[in-house]
């Protein structure tokens, strides 16, 4: 592969990282029917994490594990309601 041969001497570590599990990084070609942009990165989930982190930043430090679970549950419920196809009332998605 061209990329590997050009850079192996100048940046061996970077190329090694690139080659490690290379088969798994191109596994998305085996799947048909979905947009490739969705299945080759975890960016959909990163978006969710951002939403969760928004809550964590407000709270700063959770007082107890139970409280944290509740906050996460509420946030997750809100997000799931926003994505569902059924019609939702405004208080379910905000």
């Amino acid at each position: 592969m061209e990329f590997v041969t050009t850079w192996r001497e100048r940046a061996p570590k970077a190329v090694a990282t690139f080659e490690r599990d290379f088969e798994q990084t191109i596994a998305y070609y085996r799947l048909q029917g979905t947009a490739r942009e969705f299945i080759r990165t975890t960016s959909l989930l990163k978006r969710i994490n951002r939403e969760l982190r928004r809550k964590f930043r407000q709270v700063c430090c959770f007082g107890s594990p139970k409280g944290a679970q509740v906050a996460i549950f509420l946030q997750v419920k809100r997000l799931n309601a926003g994505w569902s196809k059924e019609k939702q009332t405004w208080w379910q998605i905000s």
Binding site: M1, E2, F3, T6, W7, R10, A11, P12, K13, A14, A16, T17, F18, D21, F22, Q24, T25, I26, A27, Y28, Y29, R30, L31, Q32, G33, T34, R36, F38, I39, R40, T41, T42, S43, L44, L45, K46, I48, N49, L52, R53, F56, C60, C61, F62, G63, S64, P65, A68, Q69, I72, V76, L79, N80, W83, S84, K85
Partner: protein
């Protein structure tokens, strides 16, 4: 399809020791720590998506991931029920947990973004200094181009891709 990732948050916990506070009331001592939240997002080909499950744990260890993956498996996230792929970052312990529960029947996709990020990190060490900034950028662009070129070159066959790589 299921995506896995984690996020860190801070948490306070009550400890057993009792200490008097400023006004001499007896209060449990509190101690803060960081915990990790492991999230699993499921999405379908028709565009539906949902946060399927999550799990709080002290570390990103294998045990925690295994708990989450196993729970999902029991709820029916299996290849025979239509699980097509698992998308994850480069966390090796998650890979082990997945291999233990699901076996090798599921397509595993490593997140390209994470991979390229790691490549950039490593290339910072290889090509140090301001003078080599352009070289670093060139490397990153070419690494990106690899994925892009393949998506144009061979659309429908894995064999084609493997051939190209070889």
């Amino acid at each position: 399809m299921v995506q896995f990732d984690d996020i860190w948050l801070r948490l306070q916990n009550q400890t057993e020791t009792v200490k008097p506070d400023k006004r001499h009331r007896k209060r449990h001592e509190r101690r803060g720590k960081k915990v990790v939240l492991l999230v699993a997002l499921g999405f379908w080909q028709d565009g539906r998506r949902e946060i399927v499950d999550w799990q709080m744990s002290d570390n990103e260890g294998k045990a925690a991931w295994e708990q989450l993956v196993h729970r999902l498996w029991e709820r029916g996230v299996r290849p025979e029920n239509g699980l097509q792929a698992v998308i994850r970052d480069g966390n090796g312990e998650l890979g082990e947990a997945l291999a233990l529960v699901d076996g090798t029947s599921v397509v595993e996709q490593r997140c390209i973004f994470h991979k390229l990020q790691n490549v950039v990190d490593k290339c910072r060490k290889d090509l140090k200094g301001k003078s080599k900034k352009e070289e670093r950028q060139a490397l990153l662009e070419q690494a990106r181009a690899v994925y892009h070129a393949q998506s144009i070159g061979s659309h429908n066959s894995v064999d084609g891709v493997c051939h190209y790589v070889a």
